[in-house]
């Protein structure tokens, strides 16, 4: 009885993966069969004219994630260093609770904040027609991934052995030299895992991005123009899945977006885990 239960549970976990990826592939198959990999390079997405190019959404997703990381990495690292190396103990746990609070806010609430605070601010300060753009999505995502980076960095810094800290201090290294030459390099594997997890989270985040990104299928023109409405893979799925008929090419194309998203994020999270495992094994 116990044995049956254990084995069934383990089997269910395995089945979930197989079923999910299998059906995503099966449903998106007509799409891949139709055009091969060409749509990955084309930016035209007009469901009513049967044009399903994914490039605009892919570029949008990466831009938003990139902005988020560009802001969240320095801030998160600085916050982690500050809490472990500068502040005394009680403050450390206070900052950590703050980050846990930030991580606990549901993404749709971030969407609400973005829609009613961030967008009006962007619109009036940058003199735009609409605040819906990739910059807004990136800014919102940076707040959402900040806790991941900060908490993982904090854990990694705490794990650096006091032996190494003492050695560095006895060599007469100053505070900043100790930080750059000893602490950060030693903690780097953990920090990198944190960054990769944050990247995966930023690429897969749906609700908040969907509310602020504007959902217009355009490749940014010129390529660094982040102030026009754009589209990400997740926001496209979220916006259009309701209006596509099951079995149609449109549906199939949206499933292809989902499959692509799943493959990208699986690769990222595997990279994060494999590397961190290897390094922790090698460490004495």
């Amino acid at each position: 009885m116990l044995n049956l239960w254990m084995r069934t549970s383990a089997l269910i976990s395995l089945l979930v993966v197989v079923v999910m990826l299998g059906f995503l592939l099966q449903q998106s198959w007509p799409y891949w069969q139709h055009d091969g990999l060409n749509p990955l390079l084309s930016g035209d997405w007009y469901p009513y004219e049967h044009l399903f190019g994914l490039a605009a959404a892919i570029i949008g997703s990466f831009w938003a994630a990139l902005i988020a990381l560009a802001i969240a990495i320095p801030t998160g690292l600085a916050a982690a260093v500050m809490s472990t190396e500068i502040l005394p103990g009680p403050w450390r746990s206070l900052m950590r609770s703050g980050m846990e609070l930030l991580a606990g806010i549901p993404s749709v609430v971030y969407g609400l904040l973005g829609l009613w605070i961030l967008l009006p601010l962007l619109q009036s300060n940058l003199h735009l027609l609409t605040g819906h753009n990739l910059l807004a999505a990136g800014l919102l995502l940076s707040v959402m991934v900040l806790p991941t980076i900060m908490v993982m960095t904090q854990d990694a810094l705490c794990e650096v052995s006091s032996h190494q800290r003492d050695t560095a201090a006895s060599l007469g290294m100053g505070w900043s030299a100790r930080l750059w030459r000893v602490l950060l390099p030693q903690a780097w594997p953990g920090i990198r895992s944190g960054i990769l997890l944050a990247l995966g989270r930023a690429l897969g985040e749906t609700m908040a991005v969907m509310l602020v990104v504007g959902s217009m299928d355009r490749i940014p023109d010129p390529w660094y123009n982040l102030l026009a409405p754009a589209q990400t893979l997740t926001s496209r799925i979220g916006r259009e899945i309701g209006e596509s008929a099951f079995g149609s090419m449109h549906f199939s194309a949206l499933m292809a977006c989902g499959l692509l998203l799943a493959l990208i994020t699986i690769t990222i999270s595997m990279l994060a885990h494999i590397r961190s495992d290897k390094i922790s094994v090698n460490r004495p």
């Binding site: 084995r7 059906f23 609430v109 749906t206």
Partner: protein, 276 residues
């Protein structure tokens, strides 16, 4: 760069991380609490057809139902998988099980929603229903629960298990008499965090389990529900209707209160574990 300068620079960079949590929370409370009062007290479900001027009870119960269902489905599987890991699996199977869980954690929730849409809504003909939402949320929280309980079992001192084995306890006795008493706070912590997660996921149930309005209490497992998360999403976009946006803020406050209560419960249990 001298020390003081470096420290100041670090603190400057870290400032957003210090201020943002408080700022976000205060702003949400500031916007939401006045609306909350009004929405909850004067609300009646007579205008539920549009859903903007109505009490939020149907949404709250819908969210809680989805959350409880997800936990009831996911917890036994997570526990079973953990026991498989601890009792029956060889090293290769252990690695495979944890690998699968890492893989599942990495997949964005909306992809779970898509798979649920294909398999549950269309292929099994469950339609947009409560049960579909429960199953999808259960799969989303499964890896969290499983990895948490594997860690909880690993943390039990191996002397305890060895002593129990030496006394001739069977697997069932070992689990009931030794592992559960030692690990329950950790298991409950994981469950509470899983509940908080199930409560805050929006994207996967948006097109598989919930409708905007017209439902106050689901008739069966196969009828759609309304939930706080998706309600908030729809109302947030009603830019022309100030009342709707007010209610969106109120929903946000309720949602945050529920989620925070669950995480506080989790950290309280964690403290029991540390002290005990």
């Amino acid at each position: 760069m001298n020390e003081r300068c470096a420290k100041t620079l670090t603190i400057m960079l870290a400032l957003p991380a210090l201020l943002l949590p408080a700022a976000c929370l205060l702003y949400i409370l500031f916007k939401g609490i006045p609306a909350l009062d009004w929405a909850m007290l004067s609300g009646s479900s007579q205008d539920a057809a549009f859903g903007s001027i109505s009490a939020l009870w149907p949404q709250i119960t819908g969210s809680l139902l989805l959350m409880l269902g997800a936990c009831l489905l996911a917890a036994p599987v997570a526990l079973g998988g953990t026991l498989f890991y601890a009792l029956a699996a060889n090293i290769r199977q252990r690695k495979a099980l944890l690998g699968i869980m890492h893989l599942l954690v990495g997949i964005p929730p909306i992809v779970y929603g898509l798979c649920g849409l294909i398999v549950l809504v269309h292929m099994l003909h469950w339609g947009i229903s409560l049960l579909t939402g429960m199953v999808i949320l259960a799969v989303i929280i499964l890896p969290m629960l499983l990895m948490n309980s594997v860690n909880a079992i690993k943390r039990i001192p191996s002397e305890k298990t060895a002593a129990a084995r030496a006394l001739g306890l069977s697997n069932g006795q070992l689990i009931r008499r030794v592992w559960l008493p030692a690990a329950w706070p950790a298991l409950m912590t994981g469950l509470l965090l899983g509940m908080a997660r199930a409560l805050s996921e929006t994207a996967p149930i948006l097109f598989t389990a919930t409708v905007f309005s017209g439902v106050s209490w689901p008739d069966s497992l196969f009828s759609p529900v309304t939930s706080l998360q998706t309600h908030l999403f729809y109302l947030a976009q009603e830019g022309a209707n100030a009342e709707a946006v007010d209610i969106a803020w109120a929903s946000a406050v309720i949602l945050i209160i529920l989620v925070t209560a669950l995480s506080f419960g989790a950290s309280a249990l964690r403290n029991i574990r540390m002290n005990g």
